[in-house]
Amino acid sequence: TQLLKQSPQFLSIQEGENLTVYCNSSSVFSSLQWYRQEPGEGPVLLVTVVTGGEVKKLKRLTFQFGDARKDSSLHITAAQPGDTGLYLCAGVPGNQFYFGTGTSLTVIP
């Protein structure tokens, strides 16, 4: 059972385009984290969202936590080839850490 489902699973876009990745669950999370993993490397934490409705910005990346704390989104503006990687949401409902199903992003120059 996957607690956190991400969509889309794969995304291939041209450099300069915008995109949104979604992370959804039927469970309530006290916080959600977003990681990016480049090929051949371990995941690296991008952001943690804690408050329902919270919006955080990291340069061209905008993260939002749903009001009900069951979902989150990641929006990338003007994607660049360096944004290519696997994007993972993750959360802790209770005492266990769960990863989302992942979104593999390819930005074509």
Binding site: S30, G40, L88, V92, F97, T101, G102
Partner: protein, 115 residues
């Protein structure tokens, strides 16, 4: 400075030949995790140590074992690797287990090839 170190980065073994992957951390974190990750998929938790307390995921095969001799080191032993065990193996640490804002720090991974 590297905080979670995994050795080797690439490991090749033969079908059925035992292999050990290692992980060390300089963060003095209480919790260490081992994940298996296959291509373009999310990491799958195999087990974790909270200090010396070992916690095995229900669906982790018996073929996978782990040791944590001290706070800094944790090992993943694959007793009889099969072709299906070829994957990236990620080690991670966190200060504690459970706090909602706790962060996991990942090593670069070891890519295992089974011939």
């Amino acid at each position: 400075d590297a905080m979670v170190i995994q050795n080797p980065r690439y490991q090749v073994t033969q079908f059925g030949k035992p292999v050990t992957l290692s992980c060390s951390q300089t963060l003095n974190h209480n919790v260490m995790y081992w994940y298996q990750q296959k291509s373009s998929q999310a990491p799958k938790l195999l087990f974790h140590y909270y200090d010396k307390d070992f916690n095995n995921e229900a669906d982790t095969p018996d073929n996978f074992q782990s040791r944590r001799p001290n706070t800094s080191f944790c090992f993943l032993d694959i007793r009889s690797p099969g072709l299906g065990d070829a994957a990236m193996y990620l080690c991670a640490t966190s200060r504690n287990r459970g706090p909602s804002t706790d962060t996991q720090y990942f090593g670069p991974g070891t890519r295992l090839t089974v011939l």
